[in-house]
Amino acid sequence: MVDRADYYEFVAARSDRLLRTAFMLTRDWAHAEDLLQEAMVKAWFAWWRVSGDPEAYVRKIIVTTYITWWRRRRWKAEVPAEQVEVGPPDEVSPDAMRSCDERDAMWRALGRLPAGQRAVIVLRFYEDLTETRTAEVMGCSVGTVKSQTAKALAKLRVDDSIMPARTRKEA
């Protein structure tokens, strides 16, 4: 059993990072805060039975809640992906990617991804989770993670075959 006092330490230590994850998913700080807070509340109620890594627990709530909300089109400000102007971002060289314009291009491209694919990209390449851990967080199979990743990378014009994702120790 995790001590309830640990909860406060956890919030203090991990909120900023998890907020960024939520922001990557929602693309809006306000929604990201809503999402994080909902996850934190659920964690507070369930704290006594959270075993292992509470961050993984909260991250999972964030992702599943995000996908649920997205399905409900709860965020009116967010245009559903299928209604957005179709087309991948302009291709840019890796060297140039660090510029603001190119960051913006990637940001917009991420925004065009459907919720599931965006979540996969965030978990695999921002959170740096393995395919197995990503599947656990999303509650789907590793095969689904692979296929969703491939589709998302294609839309982002990222060639995963050039340098396949490394096998990483579980987060």
Binding site: K42, R72, P94, V158
Partner: protein
Amino acid sequence: MPMTSDDLRGLLRDEGFVGTPPGNPGRAGQIEHRIARRRRRLRGQVAAVAATVLAVAGLSTAASRGVFGGVLDGGDPAASGTASARPMPTVALPAAVPVEKLWPQAVVKVPARLPNGRKYYPEAFVGNRTLLVTTSGGFERTDAIWLYDTGTRRLSQVTRVTTPAKATTFASDFAVGDGRVVWWTARRAQGEIIAEIWSAPLSGGEARKIVTMPAGKEEDSGIGDLVIAGGKVFWSLSAFTPQARGGLFEAPLTGGPPTKIPGTDRHQIVEWPWIGTPGRNDAARPVTFKDVRNVVTGERRSAEVGPGRWTCDVTWCVSYGGPDTRAVRRDGTGGRVLPGEWPFPTDIALDRFLLYSGPRTMQLYDLRSGRLADLGAPRQPRSYTAIQPGDRIYRMDRADGYLIVDFTAVR
């Protein structure tokens, strides 16, 4: 040339890609603002959402400052020198008594569906046993208002509710008085959020728009609170900025241009006729409604509370954001520490009731009598509806239907 997956990893993890959260002092206020919207738009929805409502301010503080509010920060109440900094005794909570037994005259239990089979949401009492209820035509979207006699189970439609095109907030904050019901909606028009107040006779009839006014530019801009009094409708804005200082507005219930009441910048309604500042959404506060004034008598009151985050009603203030909850009167008397962990900010309903969490059930703590009423278990575990100062009722969505407490009938 396409990027590699490592390029993508590096780009996403670059500090500049995501940027910095808007961790300015106004953030907590903005969050509570969203809460208000969410409470409206998702009212009757699951409660984990409502739980979020309560949790938000504490957590937002945590997220922006890395810690919970002052109480948990180690803010020592004894160090502040204020009246409420006197040591507070931890009160022994009495055993919780089922609310039906403790306040039988104030409790109504009704089935989860109306006689016509529809799901509904109780909004207010109109008389002793008659409820004003709303039904929804879709997610969050109210389509009709009804009067439901909980004694005879008779149902009559008050009016139909239409949702404007480009709505940003669906019909919210139903208030009754002077034989009418009012509510508001908001829509986007040319970059502005336009709030509109509607009115219909309780005896039945068509809804009529009685007020139209710009309410801000944010998606969730709108009206913060709405009351009927003396043939008029009064309201404040849900959020304000240095450029838009909100204030208390009024209009005739029969319709007409809104008038701002002078000297009410940044005020919101606490418990009519009391208004207060800083409001629920004001960036400036650690103490919500630190200063209140009665718009009828002109009486003013301020709060002397210790460090940390507090929310006040007309008489009482409650701390939140820490591992315990403290309650104290504005003048510093009656201070007490309520046992149990409740790290989420909670409002006070009708200046006396606090929502409390039991082991498996929700409870109401009466600051006036010190009694604890058990509301039973919510239909969905860990879910409940939040309370706020203007509330006259509390509705508990239980497995056996709604349990509704009429705060005004508690003796």
